[in-house]
């Protein structure tokens, strides 16, 4: 049933076999999982890494001389190198493991922001940020009397770059924007943003949670100061993520969390010495199995090929957009020329939650709500949208199932 035409040798049928959950039924309907922007599914290759780890070589890392501890440390540290290459960082020391994109941004706001920002300094964020890239700045701004300014977006859902240019000033210290918007799908020009931010002496914090699963990312070329993402949106496990930071920033920052592994020595007489970057930021026992799985998820995506994934997903998004546009009374929210993976929409007179529920009755899993991006909703004057978001294991047949189910929604509630 889930074959695709026109797939440039992209063998989606065999890829789907790697994802056991895709064979699931919802009631008597096959699952059509289009909630990938919230969290992607996991291939068996990644799942197996978990069982292998815990059946074979689980142990706490870094601190042991015994074999298991060395094997675990080795596997754990090797992923740092994988991540480095995956996002084009210059050194594996620039890769900090965190518990997710949210944790990463909080780390930056607290360890960088609390240290280096001063009363009156400005943080520019955009009107299309996820709450994860708003609330930490808001909390910091309240504490330190900083000013948050919001870069407006156009009706299409692109950043208003003219406005951005005008807002930049010598007061601008941080520019925090996402690489891809989870609510609109817009791809933002992060290299240009970094260049302009640097010109006024500001740093950039790029939220790449929605970018890394869908496109090539090169943080060095884009010259961002910080870049964050979560493993669970790129075929990996929940509760794990990455903070990329330029080494000079990471070295200048004080630690964030205190505990084991992030110190060199603790003495009540002579004081505390902190460990080096990146360990300085990795207090306590990390998600060892999760990091190893994140490495496997990267391998999995690289094996398929990121270019191929991007090409396939772009075609799928275009197909979906064209089919959806033909539905009467639909309005697509987010129509930027450069988009990835996300199709948000509203239907005349029908509330997104009813759409979500009725689609679920048809086996189609989409998200209805504000997608943790309420300012986007406010911007478009809507309470919520329904969002279909795609991964490379989705198919045109699944898009068709979505469209068919939307017609049923209209029949019931239209």
């Amino acid at each position: 049933m889930f074959a695709t035409q026109q797939d440039h040798h992209f063998d989606v049928a065999s890829i789907r076999k790697d994802f056991p959950i895709l064979a699931r039924q919802i009631g008597d309907k096959p699952l059509v999982y289009l909630d990938n922007a919230a969290s992607s599914q996991m291939p068996v290759q990644v799942m197996d890494a978990f069982a292998q780890y815990h059946s074979g070589y689980h142990s706490n890392v870094h601190r042991g001389v015994h074999t298991l501890s060395q094997e675990a440390t080795d596997a754990f540290e090797k992923v740092r190198f994988k991540v480095q290459r995956f996002i084009g960082a210059r050194s594996e020391r620039e890769i900090v493991y965190t518990s997710g994109a949210t944790d990463s941004i909080n780390l930056i706001a607290q360890a960088y922001g609390r240290t280096f920002l001063e009363k009156g300094d400005e943080i520019l964020i955009s009107n299309m940020e996820h709450h994860a890239n708003i609330v930490p700045w808001h909390m910091l701004a309240k504490e330190k009397n900083l000013v948050i300014r919001v870069i407006p977006i156009t009706d299409e859902g692109t950043l208003d770059m003219d406005a951005f240019d005008r807002m930049l000033s010598k007061n601008t210290k941080v520019v925090a924007v996402n690489h891809v918007s989870n609510a609109l799908g817009t791809i933002n020009p992060i290299a240009e943003i970094s260049r302009k931010a640097h010109a006024v002496g500001a740093i950039t914090v790029i939220d790449g949670a929605q970018a890394v699963p869908h496109m090539n990312v090169n943080v060095s070329e884009a010259d961002c100061d910080f870049y964050v993402f979560s493993a669970h949106k790129m075929m990996g496990p929940t509760g794990t993520g990455v903070l990329y930071g330029k080494i000079e920033h990471l070295e200048a920052m004080p630690p964030y969390r205190g505990g084991g592994d992030m110190i060199l020595s603790v003495s009540f007489d002579t004081g505390i010495t902190y460990n080096e970057v990146p360990q300085k930021f990795e207090a306590g026992t990390p998600g060892i199995a999760q990091v190893i799985m994140m490495g496997k998820a990267i391998d999995y995506m690289l094996d398929i090929g990121r270019d191929k994934i991007q090409l396939y997903e772009n075609e799928l998004l275009e197909y979906a957009t064209n089919r959806m546009r033909q539905i009467d009374g639909i309005r697509i929210i987010g129509t930027a020329p450069q988009k990835a993976s996300v199709l948000s929409f509203v239907l005349d007179g029908i509330h997104p939650h009813d759409i979500g529920t009725i689609l679920d009755f048809h086996g189609v899993a989409v998200r209805s709500g504000h997608h943790c991006a309420q300012p986007v909703m406010e911007r478009y004057g809507i309470p919520a949208t329904t969002r279909a978001s795609f991964a490379f294991y989705n198919t045109r047949d699944e898009v068709d199932a979505l469209v068919k189910a939307i017609h049923e929604v209209k029949e019931v509630l239209g």
Binding site: P352, H353, D354, T357, Q374, P383, E408, V412, L413
Partner: protein, 151 residues
């Protein structure tokens, strides 16, 4: 059509969604409260006119919401108009218990009448709040609270 869907989106609900009763601003009210469901972005304002004998003489609402919440609001207003505060509170309890699965209406006696149509939300945890928002707002209004937020 899917049976679960039929069970939830019944004629009556769809009718109340399309033509909500008592859907208007009230100029002279004795109680008013705003109900928010931020998860959905839903918001309603509920107005009550309660007389000296504690009878709900008039009730109306405005706001935005999904079919479930709109129909629930509409049907609530028709159910409690003319009732006493005590009766309204009793209905709130039954409705709340039904939609959170504490009251099995097939087994136990209740006063819900047509409101029993919302029993289906019990199996949809994410939608319970939609069905109960109006009732929580009513409860808040009766307690004299200006605004409530559910999640």
């Amino acid at each position: 059509m899917d049976t679960r869907m039929k069970h939830l989106y019944q004629e009556l609900i769809i009718d109340h969604n399309k033509n909500p009763r008592n859907f208007r601003v009230m100029e002279e009210f004795s109680h008013e409260s705003v109900g928010n469901n931020p998860l959905c972005g839903d918001k309603m304002i509920l107005y009550l006119k309660i007389n000296d004998e504690n009878i709900i003489e008039d009730i109306s609402f405005i706001g935005d919401g999904c079919a479930i919440s709109k129909a629930s609001s509409s049907m609530m207003t028709t159910a409690i108009k003319g009732k006493s505060i005590a009766q309204a509170r009793a209905l709130f309890k039954d409705f709340h218990d039904m939609s959170t699965g504490k009251l099995d209406i097939a087994e136990h006696p209740h006063q819900l009448g047509k409101l029993a149509i919302f029993a289906g939300v019990r199996d949809l945890p994410a939608r319970v709040k939609c069905a109960t928002l109006a009732w929580h707002t009513l409860d808040a209004a009766l307690k004299g609270e200006q605004e409530i937020t559910t999640e």
